[in-house]
């Protein structure tokens, strides 16, 4: 319950933070909702923690050139309640509302959550469906990586030593886009046993665009391109949705644990994929 001793720094600005983490030996602390429990259980024992939570200017939600930029220190609560996101990217707000509990949503940050890359975290499902990008910063410069390159494996991301997450970039949705996030929560932790984010557009009575992000099911969140392909070009009927949702775990090594066997999880992924697609379809116009 008590972490190992560690050195603690609270840099006042981004440059100072990037300097401190440049040699790659530090662990970055933002909201502390994932790192602190791991340290208390001594599953993580960093020697040096760099607390970026007091750095000004890293918490924002703003629209720039047709995309919405969300600063790494933006809390889940801020994402959940943002009028801009509610109007132009409701999928992300709906997903944020499903994270943990009120305390976690008030403390936890979008940058911290995705950098931690828990395979049962909620955000990645939505970020896959949104084809989001993540901007990373280091002492030597910035770079932007798409979501499917950002997640590498369980709790492993493309963030290199010396880098930190600067912001997440999601599209400002075209009108008529329908989206939904459906989650089966583990009863103790609230993490997703299955979390499905669906995003659809219709044109001329057919599904013109389908995106499906899946979390909780495998060793890392993923985008179910096979579901998307099956659905695109159809009329999006209940039967079309059922058929498409049926392949959501095809080719995926599904997790099994004490809360849900692989068989049950795969079954629930199909059920929740159909539910998410049905809700998203109802929200298209």
């Amino acid at each position: 319950m008590i972490p190992q001793n560690f050195e603690y720094s609270a840099p006042a600005n981004l440059q100072e933070a990037l300097g401190l983490i440049a040699d790659g030996s530090c662990k970055v602390l933002a909201g502390g909702m994932s790192l602190i429990p791991l340290m208390k259980l001594r599953l993580a024992a960093p020697e040096h923690v760099v607390d970026i939570s007091r750095i000004p200017g890293m918490s924002y939600i703003r629209k720039e050139e047709g995309a919405i930029h969300i600063g790494a220190l933006t809390t889940h609560y801020e994402v959940e309640t943002s009028p801009l996101l509610a109007a132009e990217c409701p999928l992300l707000a709906e997903t944020a509302a499903c994270i943990g509990d009120v305390q976690v949503r008030n403390m936890g940050t979008i940058g911290g959550s995705i950098a931690h890359a828990d395979p049962a975290a909620d955000y990645p499902a939505a970020l896959f469906a949104l084809e989001a990008k993540v901007r990373l910063a280091s002492a030597t410069g910035d770079r932007t990586v798409p979501m499917d390159e950002f997640l590498v494996d369980t709790m492993t991301t493309a963030v290199e030593p010396g880098e930190l997450v600067l912001e997440v970039i999601v599209p400002a949705e075209a009108s008529g886009t329908g989206s939904a996030y459906k989650k089966l929560a583990q009863p103790a932790s609230g993490f997703a046993l299955v979390g499905i984010a669906a995003r659809l557009m219709k044109a001329g009575g057919k599904v013109s665009m389908a995106r499906l992000g899946v979390t909780g099911v495998a060793s890392m969140a993923y985008r179910a391109a096979n579901v998307e392909k099956l659905l695109e070009g159809t009329a999006g009927t209940a039967e079309d949705i059922r058929k498409a949702a049926a392949v959501v775990t095809e080719g995926v090594d599904v997790n099994g644990d004490l809360h849900a066997s692989a068989e049950y999880r795969a079954h629930m992924a199909r059920i929740y994929a159909a539910q998410a697609l049905t809700s998203a379809m109802a929200r298209t116009s």
Partner: protein, 397 residues
């Protein structure tokens, strides 16, 4: 067990229970195992619960739901429990409690109890008892407990005994002081015909009164003392219970199981508990709510799971699912009142009632929901995956 029997006999589970209860006129009821059930009217809470849930209507709704392929279940549990532990020979740590009551020279009252509450609210219940008996305001009473430098040795709050044992010790200490206050009152009023009630002592002949504060003040100044009476207004009473108490009740739960996911939704939760006389209805309902929540945890979520190496893998709250407020249905809590003859207040105890009534009622309800697919028994907890597998296997998993 009762539901399996009802199914075998093709009887309604409520009817089977009503037919087999110990009758209201058979109390005190001597059991084959040597216990004497103090008082009971077992049909009363079940009848009330059936009425509250509108049993005929929910059974009709169930018939309709089943035709539509929905898995709607109605389950009940009727329970009797043993509380107010208990006679000392049957309670290894000792079964008594004691209370000390001091009426201060100001007329304010201090109660000290060894039956220390840890959330059950006896600070309030005991203050109510003292206020009612002495005729003072609730705010005039302080209840001290838990600090061994102040409070005498006691056994404690468990086995639904706080009020039934600790409260009874307090009741008798209060009677001592009422008698003493009456003696001092008679002395002050110079009368041999007085009544002590409502916080004042009244001369029945002249109607003159003295207040409890005047009486207490006089008892400490001790200018004059009644015959064979010591100064001061302090009493300690130890109470050894002659028997346990035996509360009872009936819980009825309506559930629906999602055929696709195995998830249980609780549509109605009706709890009718008989804990004898009730001193504080809000605290009693709080106890029932807490118990039901714990019972739901056991029925639906909580489990200790070990891996193949014997390692506990539900060792922390990230994996061991305790109920949270958002997971709890509306609890319709009600009561019947069958006083206990074991103590003068007629109370029985209510700490565990909710827990005892809840888990079997939930399981019976879910088994009833799944009976169309051939399910007759399920081990707790009723996890969605377990139920889904039973549905998939037609009850044979």
């Amino acid at each position: 067990m009762m539901d399996l029997l009802a199914a075998e006999l093709k009887m309604d589970p409520a009817e089977l229970r009503l037919k087999n209860f110990v009758g209201e006129g058979e109390f005190p009821y001597q059991t084959a195992t040597g216990l004497s059930y103090d008082s009971g009217n077992y049909a009363a809470p079940l009848k009330k619960a059936l009425e509250l849930v509108d049993y005929a209507a929910v059974r009709a709704e169930q018939t309709k739901a089943r035709k539509a392929g929905r898995l709607l279940g109605i389950g009940m549990s009727t329970y009797g429990e043993i509380c107010a532990f208990g006679p000392s020979p049957a309670t290894p740590a000792g079964g008594w409690e004691s209370a000390t009551v001091k009426i201060e020279p100001s007329g304010k009252v201090t109660v000290m109890t060894g039956a220390s509450p840890h959330g059950q609210g006896e600070e309030t219940t005991f203050a109510q008892l003292a206020a009612d008996e002495l005729g003072v305001g609730l705010d005039d009473v302080i209840v001290l407990h838990g600090d061994t430098a102040i409070v005498q040795y006691g056994i404690g709050t468990f086995g639904s005994r706080g009020t039934a044992i600790g409260g009874t010790a307090l009741y008798f200490a209060l009677q001592d002081l009422k008698a003493k206050a009456k003696k001092f009152g008679a002395l002050l009023l110079e009368s041999d015909d007085v009544t002590f009630a409502g916080g004042v002592c009244t001369d029945n002949k002249t109607g003159k009164t003295v207040t409890l504060a005047q009486i207490a003040g006089a008892s400490y100044r001790a200018m004059k003392l009644p015959p064979q009476t010591e100064p001061g207004m302090v009493s300690t009473h130890f109470w050894e219970p002659p028997n346990f108490t035996f509360p009872f009740g009936a819980h009825i739960v309506v559930t629906e199981v999602d055929r696709d996911t195995g998830q249980v939704a609780i549509k109605r939760y009706v709890a009718v508990d008989d804990c004898g006389n009730i001193i504080n209805p809000m605290l009693v309902d709080g106890q029932v709510h807490g118990g039901v929540v714990q019972g739901l945890g056991q029925a639906l979520w909580e489990q200790a799971v070990y891996d193949e190496n014997g390692q506990l893998i539900t060792g922390e709250l990230m994996d061991y699912a305790v109920p949270k407020a958002g997971m709890i249905p509306w609890i319709e809590s009600s009561h019947t009142v069958t006083p206990s003859p074991v103590n003068p207040m007629g109370v029985k105890g209510v700490g565990e009632a909710g827990t005892i009534g809840c888990s079997p009622a939930v399981v019976n309800s879910v088994v009833d929901a799944l009976s169309p697919v051939g399910v007759r028994h399920i081990d707790m907890p009723l996890t969605p995956e377990k139920l889904w597998r039973l549905i998939e296997a037609g009850g044979q998993a």
